[in-house]
Amino acid sequence: MATKVVMEALSPTMEEGRLVKWLKNEGDAIKSGEVLAEVETDKAIMELVARGDGVLRKRLANEGDASPVGTILAVIAPAEENIDALIAEAGAAAPAAAAPAAPAESQGEASTPQQEASQPSEGGGAAVAAPPKPPPSASGGDQAGAAQTPPAPSPPSPAPAQPRSGGNGRQRTSPLARRLASDRGIELSLVRGSGPGGRIIKRDIESAVASAAARPKPAAAAAAPAKRIISREGDFQDVPLTQIRKTIARRLSESLGPIPTFYLTAEFDMVRASEMRAAFKELGEEFKVSFNDIVLKAVANALADHPEVNAHWMGDRIRHFNRVHVAMAVAVEEGLITPVIFDADRKSLPDISREARHLAELARNRKLTPEQYTGSTFSVSNLGMLDIEHFTAIINPPESAILAVGAVEDKPVVVDGTISVRQRMRVTMSCDHRVIDGATGARFLQALRRLIENPLLLVL
């Protein structure tokens, strides 16, 4: 049975992809799950995997071609199967590619109308409008027994077939997959469906969970300190908006644009943090941590204690997260991307350091997967390494705050009535006033100061 290889939406916002490189040649035997090609999305270079077994019979796109999502790029089929009709269809569909659902729908379902009529009916409906199929290809027979079935009269289609999904490409998901995704904190928009028409089914969620588990995971992550865990029942809690909060949100938005931002700046003493870095460094390369790692860890711990800051503005409610996923802004050639350290509060400092380095490297090589750069609850942006003393960062909605971190510098400071030279670092938190009030943000920075100025707290 032939399988179409289509340009898939490999990131949540992808509308078009560029085929960077074919990794398989025509005539190669392909197994489902094998990587066929590299595709450049709007965010990264991703792998395009096969959705069926067979031989790569025909490559329809050339390296360097950009194609809209849904375009047929190749055909995988048994060596003896006639795929002329499919190729013709691809030729006809390619320029339009306006209905990505259609090519995906017939994936793995190349049955003739006659066979279709004798197929079992779905869900109790009488011959529920099977969408019009492409012209019969000379595909191999259907499953056992269907071949014996006589050509039963095709049931009259009760109504013109409706498009399976709206123009926005509403994702189809089995009820079970939806529940599993919710239970396991998987963002459905990041999951590729392998069911008919791209339906997300149980196995897709399981593989998403598996790939999340396969992220670089420091060994010590399991031994998470439990004391900061507020609640692990579900990943977040939605707080209904009170009238006063609605009024604050509306009035502030009216006065200052889409996100009513205010800024809180604090300067932290970094002497002890610096000493800790030196101590870690003495332990060997594998324990090396940067100031940024210390900030990431301190932010994560402070967020775990301050869920009111670890929050998203959802329009009609505020979402307080029970897990802490800290994004770190990484400058790449084309701009900026924010890989995420998931459950950062539960990871040790050296583990965060290792993970941050790994993610930054992936980001620079454009190898981040969507799962690695979405799902953050809070962001940190650090320009200290570029000798920026102080700046303000722009909130990444729907997050409600971002922390801008400046360079660690020697400064004259009054300590106990005398002026001494201390290492200091300025941070500025941009806050969405619809979610965070001044005092709330200040308390968070206070907690952050305590952690950064007493970094031993970070290794407890």
Binding site: G108, S118, P120, S121, G123, Q143, A146
Partner: protein, 326 residues
Amino acid sequence: MPVLTYRDALREALREELIRDDRVFLMGEEVAQYNGAYKVSKGLLDEFGPMRIVDTPITELGFAGVGIGSAMVGLRPIIEFMTWNFALLAIDQVVNAAAKMLYMSGGQFPMPMVFRGPNGSALQLSAQHSQAWESWLAHIPGLKVVTPGTPADAKGLLKSAIRDDNPVVFLEGEMLYNTKGEVPQGDYTIPLGKADLKREGDACTIVAHGKMVLVALQVADALAKEGIAVDVVDLRTVRPIDIEAIATSVRKTNRAVVLEEGWEICGVGAQVVDFIQRECFDDLDSPVLRVHQEDVPMPYAKNLERAAKPDAPKAIAAVKKVMYLA
């Protein structure tokens, strides 16, 4: 445990109940002197005499009505229809009198009777004589509808049906009479309304009843060779349906195929699908599929008849489809 045919298991049940309760009697066409059109009542006339094993003329409407009258005066009749296709002539008695008597008499007249006989398609009996009637009968409040698939179930369920104080419609698979299976000796009953898990697996649930239980087991055997283990839920009684047994299985497997001998529209399978979507919506990974007779009168021609019937290859295709393997 002795191995009996489905036919002999039914006879054992009849005989034991005739001995146990002298209010029980059997009535129908050719049940006495001819020993039953399908030999289910073989020897019973000799043992129990013509007052308990009663031959009737070809008058379905009449003897069904006589049965109802005798139940109203305290007997426990078993009415044999030569096939359920002929019972259509008596359907007014079954549906309008037997099913509703307790209700319409304000509880004064229980209806402890059984209507039984062969049901479903056989071989080349064509459109009027190869029909599965359970969904028609299960539609009627007041009736219990029983569809045993194995000899052991046939015996235990028939004894329960005879002892039940409600009218029970007992549908024997016409093609099952010669099938064999282990049957416990002596007195045992199987409660009406309880399904049976005939095979255990985790990949998919197949819900079946009556003759289709054997097909489901063939499917399970075939799929097991491919490493696919399925649950086979035998409904045994299609009214009431054991919703919990179905839901328990579907919650485990997340997928279901409903297999039945009758037609699709308003079939038993439609009801099962309805229960599944209500009870297990969040557990479903794929749409529930149904396998049933094609939506045509049963053809006479052998090849067309085979094509019209639900069978193992069609069910295997359905299982693979709900597992996204096809």
